[in-house]
């Protein structure tokens, strides 16, 4: 029987297939162990999924983040959404959009532009990208004559949580930074949503979004350029959303970086 055992345990991908990897990041040409995945590919996938899961259940390390924002001269506040924990956050998007009843913004000064930082679906993304972005963004906004004095962290927050915060602080514009849903290839993508005249009930079509902010994606310093330009335009034209498109030259800059 054993001399008939000519089929190899591990079947490598066809030779030509390896060349095709230059065209896509998809997991092509994995080879196979009989009908299954080779052990290395199976465990690579497991590691990527584990990183994404851990990112979803990560929480904001607010102390160093707030310290960094204070060094930029911002007053920093902390609130929670109405979602009590991660499980409720995942089940009840409506609660993640509202603030906890006891949330207080009373000790914060009103600000023309308010920076809101939410954990979203990946606090790890915010931990990694907030300060590299803010270090460039805040000076740029001020250089454009835009007043930004206040930043608010919101735990268990979704995008629309910026609306009641902006309204309470009489902001004309909210710039909200939030952890995006982690993928297998990147668990640390941060998104930016900009809303002019924020108030609860604002439809998403009235927001501008810049996504995939991370090392290996849209670099934080390049994202800061785009955000500063959009913020200036939103304030000048008193609008945000679908009627305010990104500056195409800056979009190209971002891609080439």
């Amino acid at each position: 029987m054993s001399e008939k055992n000519e089929v190899p345990t591990l079947i490598p991908p066809l030779e030509g297939l390896a060349r095709l990897r230059q065209f896509t990041a998809a997991r092509i040409g994995l080879g196979r162990a009989g009908i299954g995945l080779p052990t290395a590919a199976h465990l690579r996938f497991a590691a990527d999924h584990a990183r994404a899961k851990d990112a979803v259940y990560s929480s904001l390390d607010t102390k160093p983040l707030a310290g960094g924002l204070k060094r930029l001269g911002l007053k920093v506040g902390f609130v929670r959404s109405a979602a009590r924990d991660r499980d409720e956050y995942l089940r009840r998007p409506d609660l993640g959009r509202r603030l906890d009843e006891e949330a207080s913004l009373a000790n914060l000064p009103p600000s023309d532009v308010v920076l809101v930082v939410a954990d979203g679906l990946s606090a790890a993304a915010v931990d990694a990208n907030l300060l590299p972005l803010a270090d460039v963004l805040v000076p740029q906004l001020r250089a454009r004559g835009i007043e930004i004095e206040t930043a608010v962290f919101v735990e268990q927050g979704r995008v629309a949580a910026g609306d009641p915060i902006g309204q309470a602080l009489k902001a004309r514009l909210v710039i909200l930074l939030i952890g995006e849903r982690p993928g297998l290839s990147s668990a640390d993508s941060m998104g930016c949503y900009m809303t002019f005249a924020p108030k609860p009930g604002t439809p998403d079509s009235r927001r501008n979004c810049i996504s995939n902010i991370r090392l290996g994606g849209l670099l934080p310093r390049l994202a800061a350029d785009q955000i500063a330009w959009l913020a200036a335009e939103a304030l000048r034209r008193e609008v945000s959303g679908t009627s305010l498109k990104a500056d195409p030259t800056r979009a190209i800059e971002g891609k080439s970086g």
Partner: protein, 464 residues
């Protein structure tokens, strides 16, 4: 009308049929989010008891969404076939469950019955069934459709090859297509979800897939999963469109959110039929559905998500599709929270679709914020194939790099064929054999002749 049940001396009442249906649904996060779920485990069983006693015919009298306000309700009621319904018209929901499990419900009887069933009847029945009931009945239903190959035959399982790419890059799409074909995937369709909805991109990808298919002479069909209006424009520009795709939902308002009406779907179908591209059949439509889509569009009318999903199947049924699949784990944990809920929903969707006469497949999948993993997908795949699912979807290494979620891997197809003996569509199976990808036992050969794929690889060279 108020519905009542009494269990061990405690009485329960439900204000109307809509409330009864919602509270009888097995637990899932979407109905809880909508605020319509049962408030306790006992209330849920009480609703199931009241539902089991309900005559099926009641669903023909009490519409869950008003007839005059919703064209999906009008479609369901106006197309109901009373003659087909006659053999079971005297039964209650509970009685129908027993009839389905009995020897009376043969494959032929179920095929004849399908036009007599409404989505509300099958959704109601699913609520009082366990997984094994859903599997047992699903395994008896046959829905056979055809375009360039024949799908849904007994003992067969088809697969969609999904070669998505985050920038719709032609070479990237082609690379994933070749990878999947070498693994034996693609008899249901080779279908790309485009990133943009631009007609130029639709037409370009459509030509790309058609080129690969014709160069390799594969008896399958291709599809670009853009919006139905984009497909119509592409057809007007002469693009080689095999299947027209559209996401559909169970209410007029939810379909409005997708930018479609039943009339628009009919127009698209007529345009695709006019191309006469099918060789063994002319089923030209491909639909996707998924529990929670109506709620996420705020268009569910207070109706539970299983019922809204079955109503989406009724929309699909109207257009004689080649394939339909639920994107069961894609819509997110606020609708299906974990592996348990995703697994049950996948089997419910398959059961409801098949009973209604829809060629039902499932995208066995999950997102990273759902409490699910590869083990859950293995369980769902194995259960679905036991239930006779028409097709499933596969991507390289289970990782869709465009839509950022996990579907099945091509390897999973090899696994399930090996352990269940399910074969590919007959025309596609013959092709796999002809080009030397498979051996006499229909297993993939360790090293197929690369020369066979030279035309496709050459295409990549040209595209570069």
């Amino acid at each position: 009308m108020v519905y009542r049940a009494s269990i061990d001396g405690t009485s329960w009442s439900f204000a109307d049929l809509k409330e009864l249906m919602a509270k009888a649904s097995p637990q899932r996060s979407g109905d809880e989010l909508a605020g319509i779920a049962a408030n306790s485990a006992m209330e849920r069983v009480a609703a199931q008891c009241a539902l089991a006693d309900l005559p099926l015919a009641r669903f023909l009298e009490e519409a869950l969404i008003p007839y005059e306000k919703d064209e999906v309700t009008r479609l369901i009621q106006d197309s109901h076939d009373k003659t087909a319904f006659a053999p079971i018209s005297h039964l209650t929901v509970g009685g129908f469950r027993e009839w389905l499990l009995s020897a009376k419900a043969t494959p032929a009887a179920l095929t004849a019955l399908a036009p007599g069933l409404t989505p509300e009847m099958v959704a109601a029945t699913s609520k009082i069934m366990r997984l094994q009931d859903l599997i047992a009945v699903g395994a008896k239903t046959r829905v056979v459709t055809a375009f360039r190959d024949t799908l849904g035959l007994e003992g067969r399982l088809a697969s969609r090859l999904q070669p998505n790419h985050p920038t719709d890059d032609s070479r990237g799409i082609a690379a994933s297509t070749i990878d999947g074909l070498l693994m034996g995937t693609g008899d249901a369709v080779i279908g790309v979800n485009p990133v943009t909805d631009a007609t130029e991109d639709y037409v370009r990808i459509c030509h790309l897939l058609d080129d690969i298919r014709t160069r390799l002479d594969i008896p399958t069909q291709t599809c670009v999963l853009g919006h139905v209006t984009t497909a119509i424009q592409a057809i007007e520009r002469g693009a080689p469109v095999d299947l027209v795709f559209q996401s559909v939902a169970g209410s007029e308002k939810a379909n409005e959110g997708f930018g479609i009406t039943l009339g628009l779907l009919e127009e698209a179908r007529a345009a695709a039929l006019a191309l006469k591209r099918g060789t063994v059949g002319q089923n030209v439509m491909y639909f996707e559905t998924g529990q929670g889509s109506a709620l996420s569009a705020d268009a569910h009318w207070g109706v539970d998500q299983v019922t809204m999903e079955a109503r989406a199947h009724a929309v699909a049924r109207r257009f004689s599709p080649l394939i339909v699949n639920t994107v069961v784990g894609f819509i997110g944990p606020e609708y299906l929270y974990n592996g348990k809920q995703i697994i049950r929903a996948g089997l419910e969707d398959h059961f409801c679709g098949k009973l209604l006469g829809v060629p039902m497949g499932v995208d066995v999948c999950y997102t990273n914020h759902a409490d699910a993993d590869q083990d859950d997908m293995d369980a769902l795949l194995t259960l679905l194939v036991t239930a006779g699912v028409t097709f499933v979807i596969a991507v390289p290494g289970a990782d869709d790099i465009m839509l950022n979620y996990q579907s099945l891997a091509h390897h999973d197809m090899l696994y399930i064929r090996e352990v269940t003996g399910r074969r590919a569509a007959p025309e596609f199976e013959a092709w796999l054999d002809r080009v030397g990808l498979t051996d006499e036992q229909r297993r993939l050969r360790p090293a197929p002749d690369p020369v066979l794929f030279a035309p496709a690889l050459a295409y990549l060279g040209e595209a570069a």
